[in-house]
């Protein structure tokens, strides 16, 4: 089953990642011991970027699976497919990663149904094995294999929480939006926007995050700030760029929109 080219999953160029605290060393330590890792934090604060960065730094391939509600266990593990001669087995991404020794990154794990998430259990404890009951095979995980999941504890409903039995298989990293100075720096480095404008963008971001819970489900993410900075860098008027990138996507609420629009006018004189 090794027809999969593992090299395509290697990250060739260094992704830009602004280190916030000691997360890089801590992750490296977790990887050394092959502990499963969970990264938490609001959307667009750099979770996926961090995982990508770590995969690059460790020189390991990274297989990313975006989880969704319709995903079944076979989408992770693999299934029999029909072909001209009958059927053949097709590995799922989790199986591929376990066989070849990649980092398997399950993005937004809570979006998947709970019965789906259970298939990762045997891989995430001392067994480090993946039974393929349909195929009648037990895969011993490759020594380099590691499982990483991400989830956003904020907006999901009560129904969408991880089970304790799943949660307690991981070591965790808590992510949040970087503080103002760092975030300014991120905008500057990602897009080349000059620091004065970047500071204002970050100010808008911080003020807008004050509205979280008052009608906004999530604050303005760093990702959106980067979008706005990119637009400004491309010559778009700053106020237009902010409306387009920071306000319109995150809310349909007229009052909040008016408040944010006013805030942009107040900050960009």
């Amino acid at each position: 089953m090794s027809q999969v080219d593992i090299n395509q999953y290697l990250i060739k160029e260094k992704p830009f990642y602004q280190i916030q605290a000691r997360e890089v060393e801590l992750y490296a330590a977790a990887y050394n011991n092959r502990l499963p890792v969970m990264v938490k934090g609001p959307t667009g604060c750099g979770k996926s970027r961090f995982v990508e960065y770590m995969a690059w730094k460790l020189g390991k391939p990274l297989i990313t699976v975006a989880c969704n509600e319709d995903m079944t266990a076979s989408d992770l593990v693999g299934r029999y497919l029909l072909d001209a001669n009958g059927t053949h087995w097709q590995d799922g991404p989790l199986t591929t990663a376990a066989r070849l020794g990649a980092i398997c990154y399950l993005d937004e794990i809570v979006e998947a149904r709970q019965d789906t998430t259970v298939v990762i259990h045997p891989l995430t404890d001392h067994r480090r094995a993946l039974p393929l009951d349909k195929k009648g095979e037990l895969i011993k995980a490759h020594p380099d294999f590691q499982l990483v999941i991400s989830y956003n504890p904020g907006y999901q409903s009560l129904m969408k929480d991880l089970k304790q039995s799943t949660k307690q298989r991981f070591v965790g990293f808590d992510f949040d939006y970087a503080d103002a100075a760092l975030e300014t720096d991120i905008l500057h480095q990602e897009t080349g926007l000059d620091t004065a404008v970047a500071e204002k963008l970050v100010q808008i971001g911080i003020k807008a995050r004050n509205l979280k819970g008052h009608g906004l489900d999530e604050g303005v993410s760093t990702r959106l700030l980067v979008y706005a900075a990119t637009l400004i860098q491309d010559g778009v008027d700053a106020k237009d760029a902010c409306r387009m990138a920071l306000v319109r996507p995150i809310t349909d609420d007229v009052d909040i929109r008016a408040t944010l629009d006013h805030m942009i006018d107040a900050i960009f004189a």
Binding site: R79, L82, K207, N210, H214, A258, L260, A266, I267, A269
Partner: protein, 765 residues
């Protein structure tokens, strides 16, 4: 006043020769001697402002106003006001006004002519174009025509409109507060509601009654606080407060004439006006934001000073300097607000105030305030320039402090003090900064007053405890004006008195056979514990139908559907039902073809239904209502959602009595507010009634029908399904107008006990 002005003008330039004047006087047919005193001045103004044709129209109009014989007053007003009006809005207005006056004099409302002519001047200034003035005139004429009444007998007698004069007296104020359309709505409301009640009509149109003010409030133009409360809260939340945001409390500027209230804040919250119009190109909402920003700035950067140490002028100066510091910091944080501050901050003319005659203290302080905020000012006063420099220097190293501002303010007062500051006439023009609060938070008073001892401390009266539930007010829909009457109905809720619970048990045992039949029906309705969920890839059981289909697909070479399993899920009914009983007097009548009253039949029906619903386990509440005019709608609690079908409830049901009338809308709105709070998937309001909505203070049959219909629509919007069970044989005439298709008419009343539970089950199946 106009006369006095034109007299002084005459001394300077006399444009009219005596012959010309005489010729004009001949054209103007009027024998009042008093007219001659002002005629010359008015003609001069007319000649100056009007064309040849205009002058002759003007004189002709004045002659017509004279001919109606209502005395000197309207003639003088016409002569004085019209040249200006005609000049501003076009000369057609001359005829328009004269004709309106003429037409009015032909009606019973002749007495209001002087007051009417009096309003033309202000109306023309407020409305600004001749079409609007025309609309205004016809609006007033219509109002008078519709409120005047006449009695036909052997001789027709007409009574003038009772409210017209009061309304015209209020007109300057009304025009200031309302747009023309708002004025129209306000007048319309008065006419429809107080048409046949002259005294109340008078109260309404003279703005004495509460609802006159309420409607006025609603129709005022500008940005209403009520409409933007959330937006302002969000504004504070986002831009100013990281943790707790203060409560916003509006006050009305409309009725405090003596002393205009200012925004302020204290421990209880921010007080702000209930409405803001646009000012100097700044929209109402931005004015609100500016006021809030300023107060929030104070909260963030100011601290208290001890007031007892300063004189009133010193306090004023300190406040101005501190305000400027706050504004400066606001602009530094949010540079975009600079344009707003600049638009709202007055820029007094340096030479506008004469220190010989009036007190210039406010003028001086506003000048320095402007100079400190906007360095590009063009004031030449050396003190102003000097202190502005000192202010910049103080602010240069960051935030500065309240104390530093206080010392700046004190030395400013000391430097610029003048004897005339003590004068009682204070120069006020251009000195009010509208977005600033009254700074009461800045001062800490240690002594309550200057007196040595305070003998009578204020004694706080103990507030009386409220007995029972306070009334709730509900609006009522008026289909004539297509608008709600604000807070029109007062509803009192109380617990229904109790009676013998055994009576209900007897009733139930009478219907034993029926109960058995119902029970069988209930069994079928009972929540199914398990529901099959099919088409599952992973499930607890193989779903044979799908499995076989998949196998066939597979054998025939097509892609088989892998979702061949099924699983089971719990399913429950989640429904909240409110049964609203009409307890009006008509329930006491005997039902046709039965020896029981409708009330007794209803009791039986409700008892059976309640029993049945209890079996099903749905959330169920019962309430009764009746009304005795809009001031007293009684809403009686019989069973609450959390109560079980026990003896307490049975007792209340047994004591059910009928009386008074049926004001359905308010009761439905009240019932809906309970249903709204339930967390059920489906919400149902059942209204059991025996007749159309009616009340003793409503003469128009349609009114309450339309109101009830509106209530049904409101409920619909809240996700509450309403259904009417009507016992009135003539129900077909109106029930559709209220409930659309959601009704059942029960013709054979004696079968009600059987029908009601069945209906309930059918509705909720």
């Amino acid at each position: 006043m106009v006369i006095a002005v034109s007299k002084t003008q005459k001394a300077k330039t006399s444009r009219l020769s005596p012959e010309q004047l005489l010729a004009y006087r001949d054209q103007f047919k009027c024998n009042f001697k008093a007219v001659d005193n002002v005629f010359e001045d008015c003609m001069e103004e007319a000649v100056y402002r009007l064309s040849e044709q205009g002058i002759s129209d003007y004189l002709e109009g004045a002659s017509r106003v004279t001919m109606i014989g209502r005395g000197l007053e309207p003639i003088l007003t016409y002569l004085e006001e019209m040249p200006q009006v005609a000049h501003d809005l076009g000369e057609e207005t001359l005829n328009m006004v004269a004709e309106a006056v003429w037409a009015l004099s032909r009606t019973a409302n002749g007495k209001s002519i002087p007051a009417f002519v009096q309003t033309i001047g202000i109306a023309s200034r407020r409305l600004g174009c001749k079409e609007s003035l025309g609309q205004y005139i016809s609006l007033v004429m219509q109002m008078m025509a519709r409120t005047a009444s006449s009695v036909y007998g052997w001789k027709q007698t007409s009574y003038p409109s009772p409210g017209a004069i009061s309304m015209l007296e209020q007109m300057p104020y009304l025009l200031q507060q309302l747009s023309l359309i708002g004025l129209k709505n306000w007048i319309e409301y008065g006419i429809t509601n107080y048409h046949n009640h002259p005294e109340r009509q008078k109260d309404y149109f003279s703005l004495q009654s509460a609802d006159a003010r309420a409607v006025l409030q609603r129709e005022r133009h500008g940005t209403l606080f009520m409409d933007h409360e959330r937006q302002l809260n969000l504004y504070l939340q986002a831009l100013w407060f990281e943790e707790e945001i203060p409560l916003l409390v509006p006050y009305s500027e409309a009725f405090d004439q003596l002393r205009k209230p200012h925004p302020y804040y204290d421990q209880l919250g921010f007080r702000i006006p209930d409405v803001y119009g646009d000012l100097n190109g700044v929209s109402g909402i931005n004015r609100y934001r500016m006021v809030l920003a300023h107060m929030a700035g104070h909260r963030r950067w100011s601290h208290q000073l001890i007031a007892d140490n300063y004189s009133p002028f010193q306090r004023m100066a300190v406040e101005h300097f501190e305000d400027c510091r706050i504004d400066y910091l606001i602009m530094k944080n949010y540079p975009g607000l600079e344009s707003t501050i600049k638009a709202l901050h007055p820029q007094p003319d340096e030479w506008a105030c004469n220190p010989e005659e009036e007190s210039c203290i406010r003028h001086r302080l506003t000048m320095i305030s402007y100079a400190m905020l906007f360095p590009d000012h063009d004031y030449e006063n050396s003190d102003v320039i000097d202190f502005a420099q000192r202010f910049y220097a103080a602010m240069a190293d960051g935030q500065s402090t309240t104390n530093e501002m206080a010392s700046l303010g004190l030395s400013f007062v000391a430097r610029t003090r003048k004897q005339s500051d003590q004068y009682s006439s204070v120069h006020f023009k251009d000195t009010e900064v509208f977005y600033r609060d009254d700074n009461r938070h800045l001062w800490q008073f240690i002594e309550e007053g200057d007196e040595e001892e305070m003998w009578d401390k204020r004694v706080h009266k103990e507030e009386e405890e409220v007995q029972g539930l306070p009334p709730r007010h509900y609006p009522e829909w008026d289909y004539n004006s297509n608008n709600y009457r604000p807070d029109w109905v007062s509803l009192y809720e109380s617990l229904h008195p109790s009676g013998q619970a055994s009576k209900i048990d007897q009733l139930l045992s009478k219907h034993d056979a029926l109960a058995k039949r119902l029970k069988r029906l209930l069994e079928m309705l009972k929540p199914q514990q398990f529901v099959r969920v099919r088409y599952q890839e992973e499930g607890s059981e193989l779903d044979l139908d799908v499995a076989i289909r998949s196998l066939i697909d597979f054998k025939s070479g097509a892609q088989p559907d892998p979702r061949i399993n099924m699983s089971h899920q719990h399913d429950g009914r989640n429904i909240a039902v409110m049964l609203l009983l009409d307890l009006s007097a008509s329930l006491n009548e005997k039902a046709a073809g039965s020896n029981q009253t409708i009330l007794e039949l209803s009791q039986e029906a409700v008892a059976l239904t309640a029993w049945a619903v209890e079996q099903l386990g749905d959330e169920f509440a019962i309430a009764g209502f009746c009304s005795n005019s809009r001031h007293e709608v009684r809403y009686q609690h019989i069973k609450g959602f959390s109560e079980h079908w026990d003896d307490n409830v049975k007792g209340r049901l047994a004591a059910m009595e009928a009386g008074y009338s049926t004001r359905m809308g308010a009761a439905m709105r009240h019932a809906a507010h309970y249903l709204e709070a339930r967390k059920a998937d489906k919400k149902l309001l059942l209204v059991l009634t025996d007749g159309e909505p009616a009340d003793i203070d409503v003469t128009d049959d349609k009114l309450l029908i339309h109101d009830s219909h509106k209530a049904v629509q409101e409920l619909d919007q809240k996700g509450i399904y309403s259904h009417c069970i009507n016992l009135d044989p003539k129900a077909d005439e109106y029930v559709q107008d209220i409930f659309g298709q959601q009704y059942t008419v029960i013709d054979k009343l004696e079968r009600l006990p059987e029908k009601l539970p069945q209906l309930f089950m059918a509705l909720t199946k």
